[in-house]
């Protein structure tokens, strides 16, 4: 299912202040479409968790409106909770239970029909690769399995919106890959996913839209391609591997002002910061080839999302 026009989650001018002085969240606005993944990124203390807690109806906004599937969260919390699955940061599980018991417990609390409960739990265990551990106590599961079980729990009532707060923190690469695959499957099922993280590489190629938060404010927000194109003028660091260093050094030195800085970190590997994006790099590769440097590999050292984030952060500092 592709993204539709009506947003499943809409946040309009939402602010949250605990003491009237500092704003945990300030005038936040964004929306998430069905079948899309929205990445909320920012440093620690940016207001990501406060935002997710408001969306999960655990905190009440001081100002603004939150709508989930058209339902105002301030007016009908229960209806919003039926539509939302929420995985908090550093969440805990009931260690003495088995995954089946854990999922069945939440299925009952969410009022899932008893007739479809067993099949849904089996489906979730299958989807998150936990079938073999279905009868094991949760305390015996690995961190990755616990994380996947946490995500499975958020899906037990078939929500339309999924809120995940730092779901990949402290996971090994294999577990992150499995989580990423699971999120992509959810996107295909038409679920709107809001994922908060400060691990940008995990979000690259996963998120459709991004919101960058800093000090409680949304400093950059939009579809990831739009935001990336806005940042195309920003400085990007590329790693370039050549087989002959001397001609490469000369080519880089003669390239001109579009190269902001360059450094040969190891013999044959250059870290080059260019001002102008892929077009400049293409010209640089041509120049290297003409000088006989024999280019073997060129790749941006950071993803588009990282570049956007770095550019936004730099703009904030300035």
């Amino acid at each position: 299912m592709g993204p539709s026009s009506a947003p499943l989650l809409s946040v309009e001018q939402v602010s949250l202040s605990y003491d009237g002085l500092r704003h945990a969240v300030s005038e936040l606005s964004f929306s998430v479409q069905a079948g899309s993944i929205f990445a909320l990124v920012g440093p620690n203390g940016a207001g990501k968790t406060s935002t997710l807690r408001m969306l999960a109806t655990l905190a009440e906004p001081t100002l603004g409106v939150i709508r989930v599937d058209g339902v105002d969260a301030a007016r009908d919390r229960e209806a919003v909770r039926r539509r939302v699955g929420y995985l908090p940061d550093n969440f805990a599980l009931y260690d003495q239970m088995t995954p089946v018991e854990y999922l069945a417990f939440f299925a009952r609390l969410y009022g899932v029909d008893a007739k479809i409960q067993a099949s849904r739990i089996d489906g979730l265990l299958e989807e998150f690769d936990l079938t073999q551990k279905r009868a094991s106590a949760i305390r015996t599961l690995s961190r990755g399995m616990r994380q996947r079980l946490g995500v499975a729990k958020t899906l037990v009532h078939d929500p339309k919106v999924l809120l995940l707060d730092e779901p990949a923190s402290a996971l090994d690469p294999g577990a992150r890959l499995k989580l990423r695959e699971a999120l992509l499957r959810l996107r295909r099922r038409g679920i709107a996913v809001l994922i908060s993280s400060h691990i940008l590489p995990d979000l690259s190629g996963l998120a459709d839209a991004v919101g960058i938060m800093e000090g409680g404010r949304m400093i950059h927000c939009g579809a990831i391609d739009d935001v990336a194109s806005q940042a195309r003028g920003a400085r990007v660091v590329y790693g370039i591997d050549v087989q002959k260093s001397d001609p490469a050094r000369r080519a880089i030195a003669d390239f001109g002002s579009r190269i902001v800085s360059s450094e040969e970190t190891t013999p044959g590997h250059f870290e080059v910061t260019v001002d102008g994006g892929p077009d400049v790099v293409a010209d640089l590769v041509d120049a290297l080839v003409l000088r006989g440097a024999r280019v073997s590999h060129v790749a941006p050292r950071e993803s588009a999302l990282e570049a956007v984030y770095r550019a936004s952060a730099a703009a904030q500092v300035a």
Binding site: S17, Y18, D19, G20, L21, A56, T57, L58, A59, E60, E78, A79, R81, R82, V84, Y86, P88, N90, F91, A92, L93, Y94, M97, E101, A104, F105, F106, R108, L109, Y110, G111
Partner: protein, 496 residues
Amino acid sequence: MSVVKAISAFAQRSVRRRHAFELLAYSGGAVALLLLFSTWIVAQAQVAPRASYALDGLPPIPWSVLGLTDLFMVGLLAAVLFVLVPATVAATVAAERRAGTLDQLRTTPLDPLSLLAGLVIGAPARFYLLCAGPFALHVLCGLTGVIPLETLLTTTVTLAIGGAVCALLAVVIALAPRQEQGGAFVALGVAAIIGISGFIAIALSTEHSGSSWAFLHPAGALNSAMMSYDGLWRHLCTSPWNLDHFDRASYIDTLNLAPFLFALFALATGVVLCRAACRKLAASHLPLFGKLQALVLFSLVAAAVILPFGQERELRSYLAATLPLVFGLFLLPVAAALGLFATPSFEAWALRIRSGRRARAFADDAPPHHAVWAMLAVFVALVVVRVLPLGYLEIVPQRGLVALAWACFTAATLPLYMEFAATRYATAATRGAFGVAVCAHLFLQLIAIGISSSSHSGVYETTYIELAILFALVVPSWVLFRQSALRKRTLAVRKA
């Protein structure tokens, strides 16, 4: 319907179906063992001679195996329902708060009442299953005439309502601190509070003069119900030299009335506790009690403590002078605890003053002054209603009135300390240290009030009283000054 679903879900979380039968088997086994034990005791008791001091004119003890087993069972049920279950519930709620799973439960579509029902009734399901055997035997005793049917009814109601209210109180205590800090300590604290007060209520119920207050605790009401008929319980749980109390009709009437009064008192306080717990579960940033809830709860407890004081008793001058102070001493911690848990946090207080809003007296973000002063007014009104008709003003010396006025003034300064502790200190440790200092000040005041109400006053006593008066004025003034400075500082930060 969601209440039933929540109870069912929590019960199934507590006990797996296959283990439910095991627990029922354990319960039955315990009953069988106690039946055997009772048989052995009864056999021994019937052949053993009674102690010589108890021989003169005492009625024989009506030994029966079922009666003795029932005595054990009722004690067991009371211990489980009034102590063990509340302690477990408190530990569960505290653990859920600490781990953050309570927040996960709060994101489900359950309304707060259903969640509360799940925690109070569903979560301790394993204990209720263990109670099945003892309760079945208690019912059997009622049906076979070992105990009267009305006693079976009153004890059943007392066990049910008492268990529910104790568990509710446990939830409220576990939810009270701003940040959960120790599940095991909370559980032990709940068990200690309910257990110790239960022993006091039982002791009160065995005395003619104290039985009017037995209804304040389910254990006291249960003991009253079991002692109200002439059976094994009365003979074994009352000292032989107190058995003549049962000849007085007024004592029997009080015992008969205790379970009903308890049911009324427990239902009324239970409704307030339930609303407070639901409020806290719905919005964790709010104080535990609303101001009005705190006032109603205090009024119920104060009425329950003061009103049973018998009109038929004659006041002697010493008793007349000290009676309101004694009531006040008992109720002061209640008022302090309720006021403290109705005080807003620094954030809520700062949000209000920075927004320039004027505090409404009973709003959540208002300081607790009006609520505590209203509690004080309720206390004075109850004392006037109950003690003045006994001729208090004619008998009491002037120094007694002065002492009472001083005590009321000291109590009226409590909200200053509550507001300062909640808004000035950020950690539990600093609040605790401030609390200790305030307690020391109050203790000094209480001693001075005690001295001033007595007729013996020498030079040392007078000096002590003068010093105490000085402290009574300086300490609250200093706190008021600091609170004002904090307010100015908080507003200045906003302007900056």
